[in-house]
């Protein structure tokens, strides 16, 4: 292709964007709305994911040490546990603290404190928090191997449930994004098909005047890509702007539940590029390629 042809065809595409204002506007609207929907679903997914992950961080495995260890042995066990890379934090709980905990719990029924005042039957233990709940089974096995450890109480059932909840949430959220993306493709490609259909006469004329398929397709492609990118820009603005306001509001209006999940949303800074890049890619692929392919069947003249 000559360079002058290239610039001509690009200008041609931009020109017909303006010339078919109404159609451009309507199909761009459809695309923008679809993108916003996908964006919202994505941000929802990211946040639910983060919340679930936050809850996962609240896991606690209880490790009991034998009561007859020497100070060195305790220090060694302590060090060994703390050295594990999967472990986020380790808290030592003394027998007195355990007793206190249970007596607080049963304060309405019995006075445990008094019952065991002199003879505390509880054992000291370590509360170990794991980075990743799904590793709980493996890590508790490792903990059991540490010298001096007598018993490891890992909430394995809970962790299993949690892991499968996480999987479900993940599938649901990103599945939703995928479904919405597919829906958008259907909707946008149908919209494009209509707009191209409405211009089939124009395409036929071009063919009869001796234009090759590529010559006709290219301006349509430029037109499609441009409107796709405009839609991406508008949708990015709307989604990111809206999300920013939501994060602000969320942090400033804490509720019982929101506190339960860490109190703040995933900040805009760490997600905006996914959103923008996704939209640009979507706009490019859907509109550009969609337009270029849907004119194909009108090119048989």
């Amino acid at each position: 292709m000559h360079f002058s042809s290239f610039t001509y065809l690009v200008r041609q595409g931009l020109h017909s964007l303006r010339a078919n204002k109404m159609m451009t506007f309507a199909s761009m609207g459809v695309l923008t709305v679809c993108m916003v929907l996908i964006g919202v679903a994505f941000l929802l997914g990211v946040n639910i994911d983060a919340m679930v992950a936050y809850m996962g961080e609240q896991n606690e495995t209880v490790v009991y040490l034998a009561s007859d260890l020497s100070e060195e042995q305790i220090a060694a066990a302590d060090a060994a546990i703390r050295a594990m890379p999967e472990v986020v934090s380790v808290t030592y709980v003394s027998p007195a603290e355990v007793l206190q905990f249970y007596s607080d719990k049963l304060v309405d029924s019995v006075n445990l404190m008094k019952a065991f005042e002199n003879d505390n039957p509880f054992e000291a233990n370590y509360r170990v928090v794991l980075r990743d709940v799904s590793q709980m089974a493996a890590v508790s096995e490792k903990l059991r191997q540490v010298e001096g450890v007598t018993k490891v109480l890992a909430p394995l059932e809970l962790s299993n449930t949690f892991v499968s909840i996480q999987r479900v949430v993940n599938i649901a959220c990103y599945g939703l994004v995928a479904v919405l993306a597919i829906v958008s493709m259907v909707v946008v490609s149908n919209t494009i098909r209509i707009t191209v259909f409405a211009r089939r006469k124009e395409i036929g004329i071009m063919k009869l005047v001796g234009a090759t398929n590529g010559f006709i397709r290219f301006p349509f492609f430029v037109e499609g890509v441009t409107s796709g990118l405009i839609a991406a820009a508008v949708a990015s603005g709307a989604v990111c702007g809206g999300y920013y306001l939501v994060t602000l509001w969320y942090t400033e209006n804490p509720t019982t539940i929101s506190r339960l999940f860490g109190g703040s949303l995933v900040p805009l800074q760490s997600v905006w590029y996914y959103v923008v890049l996704g939209f640009v890619a979507l706009g490019f692929v859907l509109c550009g390629i969609g337009t270029a392919t849907s004119i194909r069947k009108h090119l048989d003249v």
């Binding site: 042809s5 004329i205 071009m206 009869l208 234009a211 090759t212």
Partner: protein, 237 residues
């Protein structure tokens, strides 16, 4: 050089079959000027559409410049079309483009350099008397003006063959004559011209070969200068 050999064109519609052309045999030499006459619905436009491959013939072969266009590969069709300039009966201007752009488009297609296009488009639009209306879209032009833009588009890329389907149907007699003279002048430098027309007084004046089609068949053909035939003057007088 245009050759029609036993060409038949049958349109299939929902309810019936319609024989538009039947066993057409015709030879047009390079540089000829041919008028095609005939009743409404005789098959004239179909005859022209076959040359442009807008329609495919049902039987027979059409050869243009030695190339059998009925068996042309699909991707070669555009290059074949570029050698021609067609004025369509219904103009077929692109509605979103101005007169200038419509003409320029047909030149762009053939990879003519931009500089040349910028010179040539105003020139040909001037030739058809539209030098001052280049920036109007078709909707803003009168019927005759649109037709002249279509004519200008057909001329613009200096094709070897010009095919015009009633190019003066919406133009006043005076200007029709001018347009026909324009085509005649182009013909005189070696371009083949095929014109369908109902303007018999023009045919009278221009003393060229006349092919008459009736009900899909060629009923008369004067390779010699125009002679008055029974049909050709029936309604003219």
């Amino acid at each position: 050089m245009i050759d029609f050999e036993h060409v038949t064109k049958v349109y299939e519609t929902k309810n019936d079959e319609n024989v538009a052309l039947e066993d057409i045999n015709l030879h047009i030499e390079d540089g000829e000027f041919v008028f095609v006459l005939g009743h409404s619905g005789a098959g004239k436009s179909t005859f022209l559409k076959l040359m442009l491959l807008e329609e495919k013939c049902t039987e027979g072969t059409v050869t243009i410049n030695g190339q059998d266009i009925t068996h042309l590969k699909r991707r070669k069709v555009p290059y074949m079309r570029r050698q021609m300039g067609m004025v369509f009966q219904d103009f077929r201007l692109i509605p979103t483009m101005t007169a200038y752009e419509n003409v320029a488009f047909a030149m762009r297609v053939t990879n003519i350099p931009t500089k040349q296009i910028q010179k040539r488009v105003p020139y040909v639009l001037g030739l058809v008397g539209l030098g001052d209306k280049m920036d109007r879209v078709p909707e803003e032009l009168s019927g005759g003006e649109q037709q002249r833009v279509a004519l200008a588009r057909a001329l613009a890329h200096s094709p070897k063959l010009i095919i015009a389907d009633e190019p003066t149907g919406n133009i006043d007699p005076e200007m029709s004559f001018e347009m026909m003279e324009l085509l005649s002048a182009i013909n005189s430098v070696g371009v083949t011209v095929v014109v369908v027309t109902h303007a018999h007084e023009l045919v009278h004046r221009f003393n060229k070969r006349v092919v008459t089609i009736d009900h899909g068949r060629i009923v008369s053909d004067t390779a010699e200068p125009y002679r008055e035939t029974g049909y050709a003057t029936a309604g003219a007088e």
